[in-house]
Subunit: 240 residues, 2 copies
């Protein structure tokens, strides 16, 4: 293993959503050099990718040490994820979709693909630490969000690339209200305002109407989850 | 886990090279239904992908039960692998390349990416068994070819997709001469002739001159390895 955890550089999986924006702030508070990587695969919420530049501009304006630490922003195109999600289902799999309650366009193991590509990029960039917003608390039945999965993949990647990568998932055990609180700890109200204004969560890829918690359709599971988390964060605050 | 090893369908990672052609014959001899997947990522040996159709035509002509078992042939485009291989190297990584003795365009963890995409496709197709030609015996220093890596990834994929995939690597402990012998066991001289004539191994992506062992530049590491294996296979045969 030629890398070591003494290396203080990190690569953050950064989609432009609330979770990955919080992860970026978390990484900028801990590591000396931080790069970001976003993935493009024809997802409906491609608008997330546009949020990235605004969030990065805002964060670098918020803290000079964050500006000093922030390095390259990468985007990797993975059209195959879209192709696989449209691959004709066999009868067997079609039945399983029902059992799992997962959408028909579910891309199995999407986070395995993201983290493996991120590690390949980190290898080429000489970066040891990889940061992702995977979260088991609110997870919607996706097994590739689970802590056990991420730890197993970390082991497989380290064997497969002969490196000592450390995958960090600071949101793994937080709910959405905790994530808002973490953002406030890291960057104060300035970061909260930035995430509300520029981070994108809505499944429908709509900027939509402005709500207290940000923009979106307000109806889809992602908007509902984000709204519930925001309300619980705000009410807990006002009660203290 | 909704799949089970009683499922008799397999997905073979099929590049059109000698190893994956032998793996396809191996799978056709064991499983009731076999699909293939090839990956396109702008590799210089893209000619391998052209070999696939000829090898499949030849194998289905060779054995009627193979023709009955052979299902869809998939191709997944992964342009990002090419992008990552050209990603500017940091000083640190540049030094490591020297230590590792790996080429400058080394794509770290390429087999992790291939197997994860293959598993995602197998998930969508309702296929349990995944077959790849990874081999530790002749491995050129690529840690993602090692048995330990493949087993760890199998575990991570099964956790991440909540399935009981079985990754098979029938060539893991064979040398190139053993691989020719395995092909003969599976499909006789007919399969040997087919692999010699249509499988492609050359790094340079050249059809090149016709040698006893097939076509290629005859100089690159892949051609040399294939030629050495062929000669040892033939000499062992003639001495018996």
């Amino acid at each position: 293993m030629t890398n070591s955890s003494s290396d203080r550089s990190a690569l953050v999986l950064f989609s432009g959503g609330q979770d990955s924006a919080t992860c970026l702030a978390w990484a900028l508070s801990r590591f000396e050099r931080v790069e970001t990587v976003g993935f493009s695969y024809g997802q409906r919420h491609a608008i997330e990718l546009d949020s990235r530049a605004k969030l990065i501009d805002g964060m670098t304006a918020l803290r000079t040490e964050w500006a000093d630490r922030l390095g390259e922003s990468h985007t990797l195109d993975i059209p195959t994820l879209g192709v696989i999600s449209e691959t004709a289902l066999t009868r067997e799999t079609a039945i399983e979709m029902g059992e799992d309650g997962l959408p028909n366009t579910f891309v199995p193991g999407r986070n395995l693909v993201f983290l493996t590509f991120a590690a390949a990029l980190a290898y080429r960039r000489g970066i040891t630490h990889i940061v992702g917003g995977m979260c088991e608390t609110d997870y919607s039945g996706y097994p590739d969000c689970r802590d056990e999965t991420i730890k197993a993949l970390n082991g497989a990647i380290n064997l497969g690339m002969a490196r000592a990568f450390e995958i960090h998932t600071p949101l793994m055990w937080l709910d959405k209200a905790d994530t808002w609180r973490l953002a406030e700890e890291l960057g104060g109200k300035g970061l909260i305002d930035l995430i509300v204004e520029h981070s994108h969560t809505c499944y429908l890829g709509e900027r939509g109407a402005r709500h207290a918690w940000g923009y979106g359709c307000g109806e889809c599971p992602a908007c509902s989850l984000r709204a519930r988390g925001w309300n619980s964060y705000i009410s807990a605050e006002s009660s203290t």
